[in-house]
């Protein structure tokens, strides 16, 4: 397996919280590699450290020790500005509560990562965002504000937004946690299809064992350790 196929590689990642002697270690030496095109579920009971691990992989949080490589590049020494750039380019996020920006339309929300990258809106961004929203089945909702969309529709917009910058990795934190079963199935199906079409690597945190079993790889986290 060549280095290039490693989208993300964690080596002995530890995370401690607190200071002055009273520290709690949340992650105890995580080794994890995600390959290009993988569709992985991250499961585990509450408090097992799933969210912390996801934030560390998403470069939103620094580990206390250990190495994170994004496409072979060590992120430990990067300053905040570079991390932010790398995050914008390499990682798409889908959150449990959609987290769209209410002041902007669906189309503008999808354009947002691209606008942040280019510094201003362009027709090319508009085209790409339209294509992505069409792909997730919202061609007729382009100019709707998030408040006018259903939960499932909002999550579709969020997925389209995560795909906008064409990042190699998409992190989804309980993407179906807030939806009814039917909508959850739809969203899961969409993620799965996108993974097949684009070869984007997915890491999906979920509570739902039904969904987890449909993923090609399952990583289980218990008490800050990977058990399977």
């Amino acid at each position: 397996m060549s280095e290039m196929n490693n989208i993300i590689q964690l080596t002995d990642v530890r995370k401690q919280y607190g200071n002055d002697g009273i520290t709690t270690e949340v992650l105890h030496g995580i080794d994890l590699t995600l390959l290009q095109g993988e569709f992985t579920a991250l499961i585990g009971p509450s408090g097992s450290g799933k969210s912390t691990l996801l934030n560390i992989i998403g470069l939103l949080e620094h580990p206390t020790s250990g190495v994170i490589r994004v496409q072979g590049r060590d992120t430990g020494t990067l300053p905040d500005v570079e991390l932010t750039k790398l995050r914008g380019r390499s990682i798409g996020f889908v959150f449990q509560f959609h987290h769209l920006i209410p002041a902007f339309s669906a189309l503008e929300n999808v354009m947002m990562p691209l606008m942040l990258e280019d510094g201003r809106p362009t027709p090319a961004q508009r085209e790409r965002a339209t294509a992505l929203l069409t792909r997730v089945g919202l061609a007729d909702r382009l100019d709707f504000k998030p408040a006018k969309l259903s939960g499932g529709q909002q999550q579709r917009v969020a997925i389209a937004r995560a795909l906008a910058a064409n990042p190699p990795l998409i992190l989804a934190d309980e993407p179906t946690g807030n939806l009814d079963t039917a909508a959850a199935d739809e969203i899961f199906k969409l993620l799965y299809e996108v993974n097949l079409e684009s070869g984007t690597t997915f890491l999906i945190v979920t509570h739902d064992p039904r969904l987890a079993h449909r993923c090609r790889r399952v990583v289980e986290l218990v008490d800050g350790r990977i058990v399977g």
Binding site: F104, P113, M115, E117
Partner: protein, 406 residues
């Protein structure tokens, strides 16, 4: 449009009530400042105009007579003497025609007029009034003090026979146009003149005392043949009168007294009025700034989730900071435009209601474009500065915390 602008404007549009309150605060603040500035400027300008209506900007006079010492004290010689100040006789400016030509040549000087002024009595029948003779060259003098505009009756015709007097003197002597008055000085010289014009300069003391005659008549009466007692000067920038006066004094060897020195009390009054106005403006700006800051601090807390999402999507801290600074700046600029309009309306309304009994406005409205530009600039800068603390706070938000705490 840059993404920072897009986000800043959209956030402002979305936070309707907050934006409204911030804009309202700036609008009222700027409105008050514009109103106050126009009011004070108009008021001061009208006071100065009224004061200078009957005064030259600078009056040049011969230097005072000094008592000359017969023995000059030096380091080896002590002189015990009581040197008394000389009584100041009416003296002429030496070679005044030459001096006038020199003064006229200066670019900052707009008008120059010779004056022979001195005390006299005005006598008619059994009435004797103490008056001030004003010997003038009418054509030159009216360029300094617009006497024809103060005329109540007749015309401002000053010739060997004709003279102009004030309304109060006319009343006290019981004269009307065409009546004759005898002017007599302390040493017995006298001349008879005919009243050709009666003026009202708005100051009772001057209406009672001023008698305008020709230079030559005044020279004869005051025994100052061929001479003048002072030269009146008007300058282009009246607030530079003091400085220019000093220069003219050095150039001519005469003494110069500017209107600012003559009206020192007025100047002190105007200055303290301006100072109190600046003080009020300063505190208005401060309170507007506090208003913007407190609303934006709340807005940052409300927007923390959005900020977290933006940070996760690759928005730098710097950009987050700019988004909030821009909001402050936009609120300042837009508020200042609205406030300028409000202030202009207020001051126009005020000027239309505050009128003299005769229907003329008490003070002229002064709305200068420069004032609006300054107001807009100050408000924009204030908005940006007021947004600084909230912006830094927004930029410091930890995206993980911001996203999780919904």
């Amino acid at each position: 449009m840059r993404i920072e602008w897009l986000l800043a404007l959209r956030f402002l549009k979305e936070g309707r009530a907050q934006t409204f309150f911030m804009l309202g605060g700036v609008t009222m603040g700027v409105g008050v400042i514009v109103f106050l500035t126009s009011l004070i400027t108009g008021l001061q300008r009208s006071i100065i105009e009224k004061t200078l209506g009957t005064q030259a900007h600078v009056v040049m006079r011969p230097p005072d007579d000094e008592a000359r010492r017969i023995i000059t004290p030096d380091s080896t010689l002590a002189v015990s003497a009581n040197v008394e100040r000389r009584a100041q006789r009416l003296s002429s400016i030496l070679q005044w025609q030459q001096v006038m030509r020199e003064l006229e040549k200066r670019p900052e000087v707009t008008a120059v007029s010779p004056l022979v002024a001195g005390p006299s009595f005005a006598i008619r029948g059994s009435a004797t009034k103490s008056v001030a003779l004003m010997g003038i060259d009418p054509e030159k003098y009216t360029r300094i003090v617009p006497m024809p505009s103060f005329l109540k009756e007749g015309e401002f015709r000053i010739t060997a026979n004709d003279a102009a007097i004030g309304t109060d003197l006319a009343r006290e002597l019981g004269v009307t146009l065409g009546d004759k008055i005898r002017l007599q000085t302390a040493d017995g010289r006298s001349e008879t003149i005919t009243v050709a014009g009666i003026f009202d300069v708005g100051i009772r003391d001057l209406n009672r005392r001023w008698v305008f005659i020709t230079l030559r008549s005044a020279q004869n009466l005051l025994d100052l043949v061929g001479g003048v007692s002072s030269i009146d000067v008007t300058v282009r920038d009246l607030f530079k009168a003091e400085v220019i006066g000093e220069q003219l004094a050095r150039q001519t060897g005469l003494t110069a007294e500017s209107w600012m020195k003559t009206n020192a009390q007025l100047m002190v009054g105007l200055k303290s009025q301006s100072a109190s106005s600046y003080m009020i403006q300063f505190f208005v700006i401060i309170s507007v700034a506090f208003g913007i800051t407190s609303v934006l601090v709340v807005s940052v807390i409300q927007k923390s989730r959005e900020v977290g999402i933006l940070r996760a999507m690759g928005c730098s801290r710097r950009r987050v900071r700019h988004i909030f600074l821009l909001q402050g700046g936009v609120v300042g600029l837009v508020g200042s435009l609205l406030g300028s309009g409000l202030g202009a309306l207020l001051v126009t309304f005020f000027a239309s209601t505050a009128k003299n009994p005769d229907g003329t406005p008490i003070f002229p409205v002064v709305l200068e474009p420069g004032m609006f530009l300054i107001a807009a600039g100050v408000a924009t800068v204030t908005g940006i500065l007021a947004a600084a603390a909230p912006a830094v706070r927004a930029a410091k938000l930890d995206p993980v915390v911001a996203i999780r705490n919904v």
